[in-house]
Symmetry: C2
Subunit: 347 residues, 2 copies
DNA sequence: CTGAAAGCGCTTACAG
DNA sequence: CTGAAAGCGCTTACAG
């Protein structure tokens, strides 16, 4: 190893490079930063030595000195959910290109773990955060961008799906293409997580559903709306579905407000002996993974997980470099419908 | 905020606590570490002040001084794959309880990104790494635990699925329960990723397949073995399946060596107009997500993603604390078969 | 253009 | 039991 042949023990430091290049640490630091303050010949010599020693600046020391860590935090309810892990990749793609690193913390939708998440990011002194909160949010005094759920607070920067338009697409498809009129809704909870009072995508989708049903001139019996809790959607949706099926006038179509709910509803319909779409049609807000391989393939809105991550990353970088708008920016990602068999389409 | 009422600007430091507690920084440092070297009264006073100021030690400074970051790296080919994101949660569960943090880096199975991953972890000076390599591995001079693929190098610490026993279960089920004799295999590549020459789960599964077919006294025409490349399994498996179907004597059953391959094979069979399991039976090594909701539900080995992460985390902690065996430890996670309709079972 | 020196916020021998 | 001081490895005014 170079470090051995050069008599350096362990990782080479700025001082090692300086000694071998015959200049001061300050000059090495400037040269490696390609500062215009340093002579071209000196710069080249320093780079040569640095490369020979495979010198890598110690990030800890640099961060301590600079007061910036070049790390950003990403808080998600559950990294093992396709949406969040894919969004993570979008975030990484954008921020790593700008030299930042991502610290992911998964809260498992637990209030305690959520607090710990923010404490941890604070301790790591991240320069900014991207938050898919399932409830709580605690300012770290650094720029924040929200995804998934958009807090009502002023000054919020966020990127979210166009929930209202998306739900409208689903309902209108059921009504105008398939002539459905008895349409129920199984959706995420109205309030977000444990934070108490926060509102987000769940509320938006529910309101959009009510509005779309209204616009179509259809009746919406209160019992046609079933909302899940904050955890285990896939597990609870079958029971909500069973409740719908047990109604004196059960629905002929169900709109699921999220992919995992759609899978649960599908299971519930199957458990209840209903054929999809013949007995009950099903459409889903988010596309389930491998939607086309399911039985039946599920009609849903196309996903934009990675794109959401990318946009959030860009908004955060803007905020970090002071390039972005000060706040109150909510980017809405437009959605398109992908018709498959579960709604009654040919597929 | 406490910091304001106490006249501190920004984050409180050890010096702030020391000044207010009327002791030296050294004493504060020791008191907060609950060192026995400090007087009980002093200790209490220091804690009181620290809590009043909401003091949190600066990890950067601590790490720089101690030479340990309390961070570990996790290198995976793709965080958005269920296996890796779930394993990540298992790792986090274990190591966060011990005060460590996890830096995740997703290589996208790209040789360049893989090198960058290790460079990045080196720069972050992680205290250890857990590697699900898709090829390369570059020692960082810190303890490493491998998952998924086990390098042949001596001294390796790893946790992996019991590939051999798992494949045997699948083949034996097809043979003894369903009387299949024309069984083909669509599997992961023999060598692992871009590293060149490394061998891993792909090789183990293939060899186990050959051995199991042999033990059953069946013939294995060379053309019954199709291996995928390193990327886009879901996309390439349909073509491999088509090749099998085009054979003069096509197989009656297919063993897929991984979940994404199984989904691709399923698509290929469907594209080829074959009914599953009537025309061609299908079994999968890993269980696909929502395997029970697929058409047909897919027979597969139960997953242990999170458990693998937990075990890897524990092995790494052992190595970090010097408690563990020096090396050459390969934990094998036993697998069980979950029969569903795709193999011909009632399901 | 270059260097000597201070300082980021901790921990830990060393001395008392 | 406690404190003064050094030092982890950088960056950056400050002075030349």
């Amino acid at each position: 190893m170079a470090s051995h042949s050069d008599g350096i023990q362990g990782r080479p430091t700025l001082a090692d490079v300086a000694a071998r290049a015959g200049v001061s640490q300050a000059t090495v630091s400037r040269a490696l930063a390609d500062s215009p303050l340093v002579n071209e010949q000196t710069r080249r010599r320093v780079w040569e030595v640095a490369e020979r020693l495979a010198f890598q600046p110690n990030r800890l020391a640099r961060s301590l000195r600079r007061g910036a860590t070049m790390a950003i935090g990403l808080v998600v309810p559950d990294v093992a959910t396709a949406f969040y892990s894919t969004a993570l990749k979008g975030v990484q793609e954008v921020v790593e290109a700008a030299g930042y690193h991502v610290l992911v913390v998964s809260t498992e939708r637990d209030a305690r773990r959520e607090r710990e998440a923010f404490a941890s990011l604070r301790a790591h002194q991240v320069d900014g955060v991207i938050v898919a909160t399932s409830g709580g949010y605690e300012s770290l005094g650094v720029p924040a961008v929200f995804i998934d759920n958009v807090p009502a607070a002023p000054g919020t920067v966020a990127v979210a799906l166009d929930n209202a338009a998306g739900v409208a697409l689903l309902v209108e498809h059921l009504v105008s293409v398939h002539g459905q009129s008895r349409i129920a809704y199984v959706g995420p909870p109205e309030t977000v997580g444990s934070g108490g009072g926060a509102e987000g995508a769940g509320r938006e989708r529910l309101e959009a559903f009510r509005a779309a049903i209204g616009r179509a001139g259809l009746a919406l019996p209160p019992e046609y709306v079933r909302l899940a809790g904050h955890v285990d959607w896939e597990g609870t949706a079958p029971a909500l579905t069973a409740e719908l099926l047990a109604l004196p006038a059960p629905p002929d179509a169900i709109v699921a407000g999220a992919d995992l709910l759609a899978l649960g509803v599908l299971r519930g319909l199957r458990d209840g002996g209903r054929r999809v779409p013949e007995d009950v049609a099903l459409v889903s807000f988010d596309e389930p993974v491998f939607a086309d391989l399911l039985d039946p393939p599920v009609t849903s809105l196309d996903r934009h997980d990675r794109e959401i991550g990318r946009r959030a990353g860009r908004l955060l970088l803007d905020a970090l470099t002071g390039a972005g708008p000060a706040g109150d920016t909510v980017e809405r990602v437009p959605l398109t419908l992908h018709a498959r068999r579960s709604c009654g389409c040919g597929g």
